[in-house]
């Protein structure tokens, strides 16, 4: 199953740091996303893109995971030689991530908690 089947996503930027929000289409899928879409897996999926740390934040009340990708924009939006200097395509590229299983779990519920910084990887 592709992440695209259970989530929508949006890219943003600040300087050389890219930022991708991944949001569960159905709140019931959020715990599965939280388990599966880890900072490590995001970093591995975007091999060659992220030069620095990948940080993950959680906003369970919106069913959202936020990934902050340091040093991912070719020296920064205003210096980059890239066609997509802002990294606007990153979110949709991340949605090509393969997840285990055929379909989302139908009855799981999200537990509400504050944001946590998880899995800083380099």
């Amino acid at each position: 199953m592709l992440l695209h089947h259970v989530a929508h996503a949006r890219s943003g930027d600040k300087g050389a740091t890219a930022d991708v929000t991944v949001i569960a289409r159905h709140p019931a899928d959020f715990p599965m996303l939280r388990d599966q879409v880890t900072a490590d897996r995001v970093r591995a999926h975007l091999t060659g893109v992220v030069g620095g740390v990948v940080r993950r934040y959680e906003v369970p009340s919106l069913g959202a995971l936020k990934f902050v990708l340091e040093d991912a924009l070719d020296g920064g939006v205003t210096r980059s030689l890239a066609l997509d200097a802002h990294g606007k395509a990153l979110a949709m590229c991340l949605l090509e991530m393969e997840l285990p299983g055929e379909s989302p779990t139908p009855h799981a519920t999200a537990t509400v908690q504050g944001p946590t910084v998880e899995g800083m990887t380099r």
Partner: protein, 448 residues
């Protein structure tokens, strides 16, 4: 319960014009805000101003004001904008000129200045926040330094009775928070209220991005009417409760999904969204669909504002040369790769091998950022576009880089098509932090 209605008439410099008029005519607005400055926009405007002291503001200022000033005056809608860019005073005079031409005598236009801190910052040992040295290291290459102002000067301008407030660099959400502070008398240390107003501003500041723009994904997230996408408005109560909607009949959608995406957009840490006015906490935010194309947001909190203000420092960053050429039909991808290999070697022969370069195959790997990710089978692309970009020390060298690509017309793989090239000076932007008290603002009120 009294509410204030704020619309967003532009989310970036080149945004569409007619949705702003639609909001004024049908949105029952109290305020209309145009947000038109990206990270580098003020610096580019500063270059224009250096060439012509009467310029240096948004290219579409006159067109936007001609569209909305009369209906705004008729309905008592006040306008706040950062279209002043590098020259808010000249922009305010232009707005006065438009008002007079439209027969709108008595319209008060305020210009906010003080964000330009080049004299304070230039040559200083302030460290760049990206860790690459200090401002002094940029030497003579520095061309602009603008502090992100908070609500203060905009509230001041509104207190002076301005119908139109023209700013340069003000933090984007602050343009929207200021009318709320002015209308409701929110104390500038009530962090929860300021955070709620900041959430309003953050949701509206990119205009169509919360009403279904930057969201459509056919068959998955369908959005009707993107051709006539409606821009957003927020209805805000004195306690900071608010909903986001758009004018009935306009294109687009406002849903909990569009609102959730935009609330977290470019907010790195959802618990600490830093503006000059407050550190907002969106980490427990909830979005609720209260009506068709109307969503409310709750659960916003905040903490004390930072002691320092962010300053963008723009500097001349050499030149960039670029060239592109297409290949289609039989064996297109292989011919495109051959083209890149040829240019790579040519640049080495010509002595550009030390330069920072980039070789892309548009249609294969130019924008795609997950090379190990999903790929649709092993088929060769039906067409590709080879793209080469490189940094150069002079404009002449930048031109030579693009020429190596256009030269493939006659010297490269079979069927090279639609080649073009460009060369430009690059203006880059770094950031520094300065203590709040070194930034002073002024408000100048003009009358039509």
């Amino acid at each position: 319960m009294r509410t204030v209605r704020i619309g967003c008439g532009a989310g970036f410099a080149d945004d569409r014009v007619e949705p702003a008029l639609e909001l004024v005519e049908h949105g029952a607005l109290d305020y209309l805000v145009f947000e038109c400055l990206a990270e580098r926009t003020v610096a580019l405007a500063q270059l224009e101003r250096l060439a012509d002291p009467k310029s240096g503001f948004n290219e579409w200022l006159v067109e936007r004001m001609e569209a909305v000033l009369a209906p705004c005056a008729e309905r008592g809608v006040r306008v706040v904008t950062n279209m002043g860019a590098a020259n808010p005073l000249a922009a305010a005079q232009v707005v006065v000129g438009v008002a007079r031409q439209l027969g709108l005598g008595g319209v008060r236009v305020a210009a906010v200045t003080g964000d330009d801190v080049l004299d304070v910052v230039r040559g200083s040992d302030l460290p760049l926040t990206d860790g690459n040295g200090t401002v002094a290291d940029l030497g003579e290459r520095i061309i602009a330094s603008n502090a992100y102002l908070g609500v203060g000067p905009v509230v001041h301008a509104l207190e002076l009775g301005a119908d139109v407030v023209v700013c340069g660099r003000v933090a984007d959400p602050s343009l929207f928070l200021a009318p709320l502070v002015h209308e409701f008398g929110w104390p500038l240390d009530d962090w929860r209220l300021l955070a709620r107003g900041t959430a309003v501003g953050h949701l509206l500041e990119c205009a169509g991005q919360v009403t279904g723009g930057y969201f459509a994904d056919p068959g998955v997230n369908d959005v009707p009417g993107l051709v006539r996408l409606g821009f957003p408005l927020a209805e805000v109560a004195a306690d900071g409760a608010f909903s986001v909607s758009k004018v009935p009949g306009s294109g687009g959608r406002v849903t909990v999904a569009t609102v959730a995406e935009q609330l977290l957009y470019e907010v790195h840490n959802p618990a600490a969204y830093v503006t000059p006015d407050v550190v907002a906490d969106f980490s427990a935010a909830r979005a609720t669909q209260v009506d068709e194309d109307r969503a409310s947001v709750s659960g916003i909190d905040g903490g004390p504002r930072p002691d320092h203000l962010k300053v963008s420092v723009a500097y001349r960053d050499g030149f960039i040369g670029e060239g592109q050429i297409s290949y289609a039909g039989a064996n297109a991808e292989a011919r495109g790769r051959l083209a890149l290999d040829i240019v790579r070697e040519r640049l080495r022969l010509l002595g550009f091998d030390g330069a920072e370069t980039r070789f892309d195959l548009i249609g294969v790997d130019a924008v795609h950022r997950a090379p190990e990710g999903f790929r649709s089978g092993g088929h060769s692309a039906p067409e590709v576009r080879a793209r080469v970009a490189a940094r150069a020390e002079t404009l002449a060298d930048a031109r030579r880089i693009g020429r190596e690509v256009t030269a493939l017309w006659l010297n490269g793989p079979a069927g090279g098509a639609g080649a073009n090239r460009s060369a430009r000076e690059n203006i880059a932007v770094a950031s520094v932090l300065v203590p709040r008290d070194v930034v002073r603002h002024d408000v100048h009120v003009l009358e039509a």
